[in-house]
């Protein structure tokens, strides 16, 4: 069927969209860290030179950090930058490697589903009790927790999309997509620090 032939590029499209969104969200997380830096620095300088304090700079930066972290989870996953111990993995034959990749992906999905499920309880409780932070700013806790939870939800969503793609590929006896999306990365590539002006090869 013509439809079937079209399906593969469409799926690759969904992965590409996920990649772009995840990279953008990770950068947004970086923006949150930069914001936290600004708030903390203003607080330190204000305290030292003007005897004035932001009030709760530590809390606010903590919340920014929490959201920033979960915002970047999906990017780390798609870049396959999660640390795995590949000492035996490298010696596995391809089918066993595939199995290990699937077990690993499943374990990560279980962990993140648990984080999402019980993280939601934390959020729902803050919402129900109207909990606010301890400091003078009195931020409703549900606010940063919602952002934090959003990152986790996106992480779970991306994993689901990737796993569906891999499973569909396997049904078609295409192992390539599984290796590309779930396999370990050679460590040299993993640490591809964008080193400017790196040593020119002679």
């Amino acid at each position: 069927m013509a439809e079937k032939a079209k399906e593969a590029p469409a799926e690759a499209g969904s992965i590409a969209v996920a990649r772009r969104l995840a990279a953008w969200l990770a950068l947004a997380g970086g923006g949150l860290i930069l914001t936290a830096v600004a708030i903390v620095v203003v607080d330190v300088l204000g305290r030292r030179f003007f005897a004035w304090s932001v009030g709760g700079a530590d809390e606010i930066s903590g919340y920014a950090f929490a959201a920033a972290t979960t915002f970047a989870f999906a990017h780390v996953y798609l870049e396959r930058a999660n640390i795995r111990i590949d000492i035996l993995y490298d010696r596995f034959p391809t089918p066993v490697r595939l199995l290990a990749d699937l077990v690993g992906a499943l374990a990560l999905l279980i962990l993140s589903l648990c984080l999402l499920r019980f993280g939601y309880d934390v959020f729902a409780q803050s919402l129900r009790l109207g909990s606010v932070s301890n400091s003078a700013v009195a931020i409703p806790l549900a606010l940063p927790q919602a952002a934090w939870l959003f990152g986790l939800a996106f992480f779970v969503l991306v994993q689901t999309v990737v796993l569906l793609h891999v499973v569909r590929g396997l049904i078609r006896r295409d192992r390539g997509s599984a290796a590309d999306l779930l396999g370990t990365r050679p460590i040299e590539a993993e640490e591809a620090l964008a080193v400017p002006g790196r040593a020119p090869a002679p």
Partner: protein
């Protein structure tokens, strides 16, 4: 209980399950098997509170500072300056490799960032002056490891969080061992080049006028050190606040050298978040696993089992060092630190070892792990920056420095004061 947990962990890790997922799933499994209560539910509360812990906010900030400094070009003038002061020694520029690493370590909390930064500046020189390439590369991989020993240090922050110890104390404790280790590295180089002068490359000399002018190149890293580490001891800032000040200082330096633009900043931010998210997922999973282990009495059982062996402090220390040396060959170092410290540290403290001193010993063991194959991150970094040739050169070149690290651990065991003297004097 202990065999089940250990077997579970080994199987998961050896199947190359991502470390974070392995720890999390093990925690869930242990909770299911050994606890009558639904304790797995705490994973939500636990990860939220771990994730907004103010001390841990220092981690992304120090990573960001390193990402900016790496791209800011501050290392070039510093390296040239140190070369003018040190390159007359037998071993030439290899001494400036170590000294530049030590100096950069005082602005960087990461060994990987230190090796990458100094390696980028130094490696083009190796061929120009015909050094023994292996030893030259080894000195870069080993010198880079100083990044986590000389404050600031990301690893010491994580150790502090895991063991509830004081970051300012740990930072002070790292200074003397850091300087001493740099000297030991340089002594090893000196001996190697006196035994075989051809290792040392062409001689480089400089006039005193050049040397004094070169001192200006040291100002940017000194300024960062004063701002980041100085502000902590002047009582102006907590470690996290110091890290935030460091990010701003790094941004100013990058702007001054004309390297700050949107592209550079967005690369630095994305790189920062990638490392941060990767580390935090492991930390969250480890927090949860540790909670479960304590709740079901596993941590206590392990401590009892080890102390029940009746080995005594010295034999246990030897065992722990051997354990980390072996584990360090196969495991990425931050996951090694996060996974093992919550279990091993209480045993060592129960035997009477000082938490601050043990933090420095662990840091030295992590440094050793960074340069031992097959999984030694600094070896990969140096090879990556070099961009050609065989990885084996870096591995062999780093081997003598592994010996130097072992010597340093021995010195620290014989004379604990190397680590504990400064914190004792400054903070009482």
């Amino acid at each position: 209980m202990i065999p089940t947990a250990l077997a579970g962990l080994l199987v998961l890790l050896l199947l190359a399950v991502p470390v974070a997922a392995a720890l999390g799933v093990l925690g869930l499994g242990l909770a299911y098997l050994f606890s009558p209560l639904p304790i797995h539910r705490v994973i939500g509360e636990m990860s939220w509170s771990a994730n907004n812990e103010f001390l841990l906010v220092a981690v992304p900030m120090f990573i960001l500072m390193g990402e900016i400094l790496l791209r800011a070009g501050v290392a070039e003038r510093m390296y040239e300056g140190l070369a003018k002061w040190l390159a007359w020694l037998p071993g030439g520029l290899m001494h400036s490799n170590i000294a530049a690493s030590a100096m950069f370590a005082a602005t960087s909390g990461s060994s990987v960032a230190t090796a990458a930064t100094i390696g980028t500046v130094a490696i083009p020189q190796a061929r120009r002056f015909r050094y023994d390439e292996r030893l030259f590369l080894g000195s870069l991989a080993a010198g880079g490891t100083l990044g986590i020993l000389i404050p600031p240090s990301i690893n010491l922050i994580i150790y502090a969080v895991l063991t509830n110890s004081s970051v300012p104390r740990l930072y002070l404790a790292g200074i003397l061992p850091g300087l001493l280790l740099a000297l030991v590295f340089m002594a090893f180089l000196l001996v190697a080049c006196l035994l075989r002068p051809e290792r040392g490359g062409a001689a480089i000399s400089a006039s005193w006028r050049e040397r004094f002018l070169a001192l200006f190149g040291f100002l940017p890293p000194m300024a960062i050190f004063m701002i980041v580490v100085g502000s902590i001891y002047a009582g102006l800032a907590t470690p996290t606040e110091a890290a935030a000040l460091g990010v701003v200082a790094a941004l100013l330096l990058a702007a001054a050298s004309g390297r700050l633009d949107r592209r550079m900043l967005s690369d630095a931010l994305t790189g920062t978040m990638k490392s941060t998210a990767m580390i935090m997922l492991i930390i969250i999973a480890a927090y949860f696993l540790n909670f479960v282990m304590t709740a079901i009495g596993l941590t206590r059982a392990i401590t009892d089992a080890v102390t029940g062996l009746g080995l005594g402090p010295t034999a246990t220390l030897v065992l722990v060092v051997a354990f980390y040396l072996v584990l360090g060959c196969f495991m990425e170092t931050l996951s090694m630190l996060i996974t093992t410290v919550p279990v091993i540290a209480p045993v060592m403290f129960a035997l009477g070892y000082d938490p601050i001193w043990f933090g420095i010993v662990i840091t030295l063991l992590v440094e050793a792990a960074l340069i031992t194959p097959p999984v030694g991150l600094n070896l990969f970094i140096v090879q990556h920056v070099r961009g050609s040739g065989n990885m084996r050169d870096v591995m062999w070149g780093a081997l003598p420095f592994f010996g130097a690290l072992l010597l340093m651990i021995l010195l620290l065991a014989l004379f604990p004061g190397i680590a504990t003297l400064l914190p004792g004097k400054v903070m009482g």
